[in-house]
Symmetry: C2
Subunit: 224 residues, 2 copies
């Protein structure tokens, strides 16, 4: 994933990456009527160590109460505010192939403060095709207008690899300042534009690396 | 992403995560006829800082030659071996919805040592449906048999959220030791089974967090 390891002010990216997990867990706890919870409960629910849970929450200024734990509703509100969920973010999805359609239908965007307001694709034959309820494919030619008129600041890039950089350039020129990139290429963007990359093939290779080590337990450790 | 920050032997996960990026860049360099390359070239091509490039490669025992740089073919072979790409890995894809179909068609798996050998889905109406060339949907009931007969060690989990843990349990029971999980839930697996999680909604929330900070530059820094 691209990006510096810490933000120059505010929360470390590692903490920011985990906050949505706590938020999901807290939402579920509220739904089951829990008023308080412990760091162990959040750890269990999210797969994060208790130590990291407490560290992350202390970054928000939340330290829990000895013997009681954390107030679920209060913590949920704090986290939601910290990660910008108090504001709705309009998102444009570029690329309506299988991946784009999967992302358009992805559960949970709407409940977490982001909303896809447009889906564009370069294929003229697909104009008007419905992607999900309320969203039809619009022309990539209209991208600039869409970004401006619908106050889009975040784009999801699910285009073919060869098109990714060009599309990124157009998005940035139109005013988008955050891109979630699924194409396996490092995008070049100006300062002030954030890119997070999901590289599925790299994820698989990391797993393959660990698989290899499982079958070669006596492999000499690589000196570093 | 789940997992400890370092492996107890061998390469740090952060390095492992970046090696596929170098591999891709080196493949492209070879294709254009370059015999050597600098850390700056790899940095430019991958979006990784030159310092991290050099640090990562030194973990492999590669230090480059002053004034010359790295030997492209040699480095490519070293990285391929380090990340287990000298062995083909058989992968089962569980879940053939939009996301599953996008993953089945994802460019680059085959060229990087992983090959999807089966696609299963729980929907009986979809048995036999072609996903991509050579792959048709098979029954989730046959999962155990598929994993054993086709020597599968890695699974990609692209099921609905509610089904993810059950499917993970079955995969592990059948002998899978690595799971790439796209469902937004922390999977519980025994020691010895690796899970890497891609949480798309969390990625979007991280971007939203940074977007919020852009519009509130005078926001008081959160004390930690």
């Amino acid at each position: 994933m691209t990006g510096a390891s810490t933000t120059d002010r505010g929360l470390p990216n590692a903490t920011v990456a985990r906050l949505p997990l706590y938020l999901r867990a807290l939402t579920q706890l509220r739904a089951t009527g829990s008023a308080t919870c412990s760091s162990d409960q959040l750890a269990e629910a999210t797969g994060v160590s208790s130590a990291n849970v407490r560290k992350d929450l202390s970054h928000l200024g939340s330290h829990g109460t000895r013997g009681v734990g954390y107030d679920v509703a209060h913590l949920q509100a704090e986290i939601a505010q910290a990660i910008g969920q108090t504001q709705e973010w309009n998102v444009v999805l570029v690329g309506a192939g299988h991946l784009g359609k999967a992302l358009a239908a992805y559960p949970g965007f709407a409940s977490r403060g982001s909303r896809i307001v447009a889906v564009v694709d370069a294929d003229p034959k697909r104009l008007g095709e419905q992607v999900v309820d309320g969203l039809v494919i619009e022309s990539a030619d209209d991208l600039d207008e869409i970004v401006r008129d619908r106050a889009v600041s975040i784009a999801i890039l699910a285009t073919p690899t060869h098109a990714a950089q060009d599309v990124a350039d157009r998005l940035v020129a139109a005013g988008v300042t955050s891109i979630l990139n699924f194409a396996p290429v490092a995008l070049r963007v100006p300062d002030g534009v954030d890119v997070r990359q999901v590289d599925v093939a790299a994820e698989l290779q990391i797993l393959a690396y660990h698989e290899q080590r499982k079958s070669s337990p006596r492999e000499e450790a690589v000196s570093g």
